[in-house]
Symmetry: C2
Subunit: 249 residues, 2 copies
DNA sequence: CGATCCTTTGATATGTTTCAAGCTTAGTGG
DNA sequence: CCACTAAGCTTGAAACATATCAAAGGATCG
């Protein structure tokens, strides 16, 4: 079953941050979860609602966003397969932002109570999951900096570096290139820019020779260059040491 | 001892999110911590270093920030007395951002190992602390939106609303007004603007009649107006229900 | 194979920054 | 308590990065 394989990826990710023993692992595998397919653009969580549980993203991409009173959208995070998208829903009540599928995919929903029981009984698991949420928070902090203090070119370069590094760490990107599952409008909403300007910046990055594009596929032609342009330092991702380090950098 | 009183404030904050029993409370009170005074501007944590423990802010204000390669500073969060400033240091290694005292104050440092032991043995405490870090993350998300998608006037109004609400919830602000412990340059770094523009926006907010200023003291003359200008909805603060609700809104 | 969504391009508008200088406040030592 | 100094605040004028508006050209998917 693909669910089991995906769960193992989730467990591997957890183990990277806190040692788990066999009972911990079995408890996670025994987690009740309802799996479902979602189409591109499907809402997984809506701001203001109280979600029934936490979501694990098994296949496909998802993003979190908020909409201002003026109707402007800001994307806050993009999630890749194997990540918990909404662990906070086990402990916070009303959702403070939306989660939407970026592409077609598969998600597993775990009831709130199951997560609470698990983390009450298995401190190692609690610690690992807590650490995951702390890393999420670290990424949010970097995004505040990116959107608040970097030029448009740096912002987009930084975003591309982050994806490359995270995808590579999960073995989801072939060397130095990947298929970016976002439209230019979504890149704009993630960087606090307009779609038109994103288009010009992507062209500019091409002209600079640090990336090459073919439709949605991005090839990083000069990693060091892109990293410098984007002022990218992977420290904030807190990549675990006991996993294969990304070949990048 | 003022430390005991401050610790009780911290415990009260924790209890708002997960029920604690007497043994939980005693375990927290028994936490080994070294208290020290800090002057305005003192570094509490430096990016790149591995802090020896977690910090509780007993008195005074503190802020987290990062500096880009270009030398621009972005403030990511401001902390008020009674808050844990760096719970993440118990589980993450190298600090990914700086923490600096905003004003003169007092901090208590708890060794990493003590926090780990505490949370391993007392699941209620772990859940409460975890929840606190999830709320921190929610605030970061709102800051991404604020800096990414709101006009300069709205950004600053939003910041002022957030402080008013948080200070009021902790009983630290007199009705509708407070002493903002930030310079205009720091407000600029928190909102992704320049100090010059912050000055103009503050004047504009005064002209609009939503705030009045006397040196650093801010009086909110029209809460509903400021809230509307700042597109402020306190949901993201996840204020606990079992505490005195803020009189605001 | 049509319809819709996405990308690209150009011209113009604007919010915010930059630079520069004078002014006020708060803190410090004589 | 005053004088001095540094830090922070205020103001104006000019520059610039990014937004807005508009329209044409591609890609993708049922």
């Amino acid at each position: 079953l693909p669910v089991t394989r995906s769960l193992q990826r989730v467990i591997a990710r957890l183990e990277a941050f806190a040692p788990l023993d066999e009972t911990d692992r079995q408890a996670i595998m025994a987690l009740p979860c309802s799996v479902r397919e979602v189409g591109a653009g499907a809402y997984l969580v809506r701001e203001g609602e109280t979600p029934p549980g936490c979501l694990m993203l098994l296949e496909g991409f998802a993003y979190r966003h908020k909409v201002t009173g003026e109707g402007a959208r800001q994307i806050i995070a993009v999630h890749i397969p194997g990540e918990f998208v909404d662990l906070q829903n086990a402990f916070l009540g009303v959702a403070d932002h939306n989660v939407q599928a970026l592409s077609r995919g598969t998600v597993a929903q775990v009831p709130r109570a199951a997560i609470r029981d698990l983390t009450d009984k298995y401190p190692n698991v609690a610690r690992a999951m807590w650490t995951l949420t702390l890393i999420d928070a670290s990424v949010f902090r970097e995004w505040v900096v990116n959107v608040g203090r970097r030029s448009s070119v740096a912002r987009i370069a930084h975003l591309l570096c982050e994806f490359a590094t995270r995808l590579e760490a999960e073995g989801l990107a072939s060397e130095y290139g990947y298929d970016l599952p976002m439209t230019q409008e979504q890149i704009a909403d993630a960087t606090g820019l307009t779609p038109v300007h994103v288009n010009r910046v992507l062209k500019e990055l091409g002209r600079m020779g640090v990336i090459a594009r073919d439709k949605r596929a991005i090839t990083i032609s000069d990693w060091d260059g892109l990293r410098d342009v984007g002022d990218f330092n992977p420290r904030y991702l807190h990549l675990a040491r006991n996993r294969a380090a990304p070949a990048l950098s």
